[in-house]
């Protein structure tokens, strides 16, 4: 049986006056029904662009230059805008980072929810309202009827993010792409939102792509993880395995640099020297080689491919 989402060798470029730069370079992964995948990396690693490209939200000058994205067996990367609109926000929904910016401040919550439903289905206003209410209840919003007539500014950040999740659920999507859904929120609210996403995935057999820089969040929510660096997936496998026994030196460094994982309080954290290269200036060979403690001669000349390193994990490193 085919996978729910199958991304093969995706390459996204941005055409600049100075020439094309490659933001995503040969990314492949699959996602099945009900599966939760974490896309992890630092800013500029290409994790958000990967998320956007799935529902073709890449705007000019960016474009998908190579590769295939298949959803439920159909190649959606070749869809026209018209066809894509039937998928985007309908079968695949997206939740963005900042709940303050995602909702339109001049319309009520109810208006925005009903509008979304009517954009995708032939449905009467009162039926749409019923569905909206049901979804608000599903994300545990107190007094949902009252919320429908409220404006976004009347709600707190955590409440708005719940509303956004409710909107993304309206059309019963098969996949939710959540791009840093809790970065703008406090830890106690973050924990609640993550619990909610997890609960929804399990009850509705929905797949989740969680894009985040927070390894802690990923390790508690997802089953699979893809670590990205400079536009490539450098380690991919079961979350448990990758987090406990990282193979790639970057993943290892990333985990050890988080306070409280390996290093005792007060001692120096393990730090990865330097910083991620900008996309215009990716070093030849392995993009991580200038920062790597395992670097060998081959690393500066040949780009490593993802290869199986056992335990269901694959990593792109010559030295492993």
């Amino acid at each position: 049986m085919s996978h729910l989402l199958d991304i093969q060798d995706l390459e996204v470029k941005f055409a600049l006056r100075t020439g094309d730069i490659t933001a995503i370079d040969g990314v492949s992964f699959v996602l099945d029904r009900g599966e939760k995948l974490g896309l992890v990396g630092e800013s500029g690693a290409g994790k958000s662009v990967t998320g956007f490209s799935i529902i073709n939200l890449i705007s000019k000058p960016g474009y998908i230059s190579k590769g295939k994205i298949c959803f439920e067996g159909n190649e959606i990367s070749s869809y026209s805008d018209e066809q894509m609109r039937k998928i985007r926000g309908n079968r695949i929904s997206m939740i963005f980072q900042d709940p303050m910016m995602t909702l339109n401040p001049v319309f009520t919550i109810g208006f925005q929810m009903i509008e979304t439903l009517q954009a995708h289905q032939k449905i009467s206003k009162s039926d749409a309202r019923e569905i909206a209410l049901e979804k608000l209840k599903k994300v545990h919003i107190p007094s949902p009827e009252q919320r429908l007539s409220q404006y976004p500014h009347e709600l707190s950040g955590g409440m708005r993010q719940r509303i956004i999740i409710a909107i993304s659920l309206l059309t019963d999507p098969a996949i939710i792409i959540a791009d840093e859904p809790t970065t703008a929120l406090d830890v106690t609210i973050q924990a609640e939102i993550m619990d909610l996403l997890q609960e929804l995935c399990e009850s509705d057999n929905m797949a989740l792509i969680l894009i985040t820089h927070d390894l802690g969040v990923v390790s508690q929510v997802t089953e699979k993880i893809a670590v990205m660096y400079a536009g490539k997936i450098i380690e991919y496998g079961s979350t448990d395995q990758v987090v406990k026994h990282p193979v790639h030196p970057y993943t290892e460094g990333l985990i050890k640099s988080i306070p409280g994982t390996v290093i005792k309080p007060g001692e120096d954290l393990v730090q990865i020297p330097g910083m991620m290269p900008t996309l215009t200036n990716i070093p030849p060979g392995c993009a991580f080689n200038p920062r790597c403690y395992l670097k060998g001669a081959i690393c500066t000349t040949q780009t490593p491919e993802l290869k199986d390193v056992g335990n269901g994990v694959s990593a792109a490193c010559h030295m492993k």
Binding site: E42, S43, S156, G158, M159, D186, V187, T188, Q190, A191, E192, M194, D195, H213, D214, L215, G216, V217, S219, Q220, D240, V243, K244, G253, L254, I255, S257, I258, P259, G260, T261, I263, P265, G266, D268, L269, V270, Q271, I272, P273, M275, M276
Partner: protein
Amino acid sequence: MNKDNTILSIKNVVKHFDISGGFLDQLRLKKGKICLEKTTVKAVNDVSLFIKKGETLSVVGESGCGKSTLARVVLGLYPPNSGEIHYGGKRIDNLNHEQMLPFRKKMQMIFQDPYASLNPRKTVQQTLEEPLRFHHPELSGNEINDKIDQVMEQVGVDQAWIKRYPHEFSGGQRQRISIARGLILDPEFIVADEPVSALDVSIQAQILNLLMKAGRERDLTYLFITHDLSVVRHISTRVAVMYLGTICELAKAEDLFAYPRHPYTKALLSAIPVVGAKRAKQIKLKGEVPTPVNLPTGCVFHGRCVYANQRCINQIPALLTLDNGTQVACHAVEENRVIS
């Protein structure tokens, strides 16, 4: 210096902000009568704490709990409405601008967003020499340059970058430059307001290591403001947990994380995602943080607390010192009603 080594003490500090606006905004209709009503944000309410020389005191809490306001009040950036701030035994909250100058040299601040805290029109050189020229007009050009070189080396900024502007640097490098600016006057006391929150994980580790190294080498005292509890655990000597403008628990870092006492601290700690471990059951809080405009009566946490009773609604709990030195403001802890 005091004999007990206290470098800074804050006594019953209150800071309220008037947000009522102009005359027309203040008009209210009450029981058929028009009256004027002021609206104030009660950001910090009766906070007392002290910081010992060489220690790192972290203040944690969620957004809006008043932690940044507290930091700014300490440095005299906001005048407190009431209460006292003593630095090295001398009261500083009532000093005028000129009397404050010698203290400004000793107390420096590092801000959260290195994109906003550096002047985009100044080169690194200009940014770093300005405090020196202002506070030490007696220094010659060469002496100033030596000092700048020395500080830049310490924070790991390449000296070839001295003529560059902030936009040429990444976030981590900018934060290094802000730290260099904070260190250049050889301060004793540094207030760091979320210094690593805007940075990526691998860069965050570099900056935390740098701050700890500078602390050791220069015998600095830090007041560290952050919402990131794993950072707090790593760098702090003592931790104060704030909720809605009041301190609810103040303890040694290892005690706080091993035996949190206050119901809010417990909920906060249970919410931290830990890498590689399935989360222990999160302690869920009812409702949301109330607004600091209308503070709840009694204990500010009572509306969300599972242990709250009539006393919590009526009476504000005082900080109570327990056997191990932990201070906690909770009636339920005092009456032994909290099940751990």
